[in-house]
């Protein structure tokens, strides 16, 4: 074993499909480099499993650089593991110690059914976004820059909300499986800009209605989502969504 490498015990949720009940299965892994990412460690384990003729562990991943939001893993009781502001693909094995036991589970929510092992179906998020509809922009020639003046703080707040990658960590960690951080980010990014104001009333109503229909829970403001969100989406967005929703319901 080269210097600094680790031996670990993994307990990983295995589940054949959405019908069968799964269970935690123990896998020892040896000689793991602290510079590997968590997903690379899974690649090593999967290679071993394939060589032994066993079924590899299904897990979601795509960009492996923290922008696609696919790599959903609930690691030792926290989404994306122990570090703040990172996704699982950005988590390095140096965040663990030689001899550690690491429990890995899929996101747990009625609205995110398990497809297989650690992969879950997050299309509920897509349906909520689709309910947001479109924004009104005039077609034709491109507008002059700065044609519509937007205060810098609004533009910044909108940009920060738009940083949400739809990973679902907020739902996964919330004791109520509430999607309100995600939905409020998607509502805020448009509600803060003049182009998004035109349909703001119907947008917030439709997105909240879809969120409820998908079976997500109700926020109790524990603030866990804000701590665990890899993109640092703020609770201010949830308050903004609440305001938008109340005003929208007063108006129409």
């Amino acid at each position: 074993m080269s210097h600094g490498n680790m031996n670990l015990t993994l307990k990983i949720w295995r589940q054949k499909n959405d019908k069968e009940t799964g269970k935690l299965v123990t896998y020892p892994v040896k000689d793991i480099s602290p510079d590997m990412s968590f997903l690379e460690m899974f690649d090593v384990l999967n290679e071993e499993l394939i060589n032994k003729g066993e079924e590899p562990i299904a897990f979601d991943h795509d960009c492996r650089e923290g922008i696609c939001g696919m790599c959903s893993m609930f690691i030792n009781g926290r989404p994306h593991g122990p570090k703040r502001g990172v996704t699982t693909c950005q988590l390095h094995m140096r965040s663990f110690k030689n001899g550690d036991t690491i429990v890995v589970e899929p996101w747990r929510a009625a609205a995110f059914p398990v497809i297989k092992d650690l992969t879950v179906d997050r299309s509920a998020f897509d349906r909520i976004i689709a309910k947001g509809g479109f924004i009104s922009v005039n077609t034709g020639n491109a507008q002059d820059a700065n044609n519509i003046p937007i205060p810098k703080p609004d533009a910044d707040a909108s940009f920060e909300a738009a940083a949400c990658i739809g990973c679902g960590a907020c739902v996964a960690t919330c004791k109520n499986s509430s999607a309100m951080l995600f939905v409020s980010a998607k509502i805020s990014q448009l509600a803060l800009l003049p182009q998004g104001r035109v349909e703001a009333t119907t947008r917030v109503k439709n997105m909240v209605a879809q969120m409820d229909e998908e079976g997500f829970g109700n926020c109790t403001n524990t603030g866990a989502c804000e701590i665990e969100c890899p993109k640092g989406i703020s609770l201010e967005n949830i308050a903004r969504m609440n305001r938008e929703y109340f005003v929208a319901n007063i108006k129409s």
Binding site: R108, K205, N206, V208, C219
Partner: protein, 225 residues
């Protein structure tokens, strides 16, 4: 497409709004209640306290507010029940390992349990004092009704004092989260003022706990007699 405001109160955010509004209303009641309680420390054999109690038992506006208060508590409890059941259904399979303390306070995750403890306490509490006052009101003996003597008698029992302390501590933790939570629910979050709201909520919860705990403790130890 669900577009009508008729769905408002059925929606998650509508229910939460009701939760927050009733919670804040109940807090305003606590302020009045705690103020009247502290009248026992006038050390005048209960004169001031009994005047306060008599005013509360006879003033017509307070009589109406009492009904509003009961409706508020019922709405708060019913919404709490509905929301908590929905939230439990939203996660049918639990995690084997869930490190809640890494990202939130235990009392923010225990509002249902704290509220249920509060409810149990409330029933005991009402059976001690409210029932007696009601009987006097309807029996026409409210002018002779001495609430001060009533509390002195009730708080001689150490078991009752213990139950009250547990009830009051549950209330303190319920408010430690609930006070600031209700502002967030109403959509009032601002980088400048939210830290102040959180601080005020914490100190309010501590103060309320101390004031309510002071009555049974000081009666039991004979400081107030």
């Amino acid at each position: 497409m669900s577009n009508s405001s008729a769905n408002f109160i059925q929606s998650s955010l509508g229910k939460k709004l009701l939760m927050g509004l009733t919670g804040l209303f109940l807090i305003s009641f606590l302020v009045v209640h705690a103020t009247l309680n502290s009248f026992i420390f006038a050390m005048d054999g209960g004169d001031l306290f009994n005047q306060g109690a008599h005013f509360m038992a006879t003033n017509p506006i307070i009589r109406i507010m009492e009904i509003v208060l009961f409706i508020g508590i019922i709405l708060h409890i019913v919404q709490a029940l509905v929301l908590t059941l929905k939230n439990q259904k939203a996660r049918p399979v639990k995690y084997a390992v869930n490190d809640g303390k890494a990202n939130s306070k235990w009392y923010s995750r225990s509002m249902g349990i704290l509220g249920s403890l509060l409810l149990m306490f409330l029933v005991i509490h009402l059976s001690h004092f409210w029932v007696g006052t009601k009987a006097a009101q309807f029996g026409g003996t409210i002018d002779e009704h001495n609430t001060y003597i009533e509390i002195i008698e009730v708080f001689h029992n150490p078991l009752i004092v213990l139950v009250y302390l547990l009830g009051v501590i549950s209330l303190g933790y319920h408010l430690a989260h609930g006070f600031q939570s209700s502002f967030q629910t109403l959509g009032l979050n601002h980088p400048k003022y939210t830290p102040l709201v959180k601080l005020a909520g914490l100190w309010f919860s501590i103060l309320i706990t101390i004031v309510f705990a002071a009555m049974p403790i000081s009666v039991y130890f004979g400081i107030v007699k």
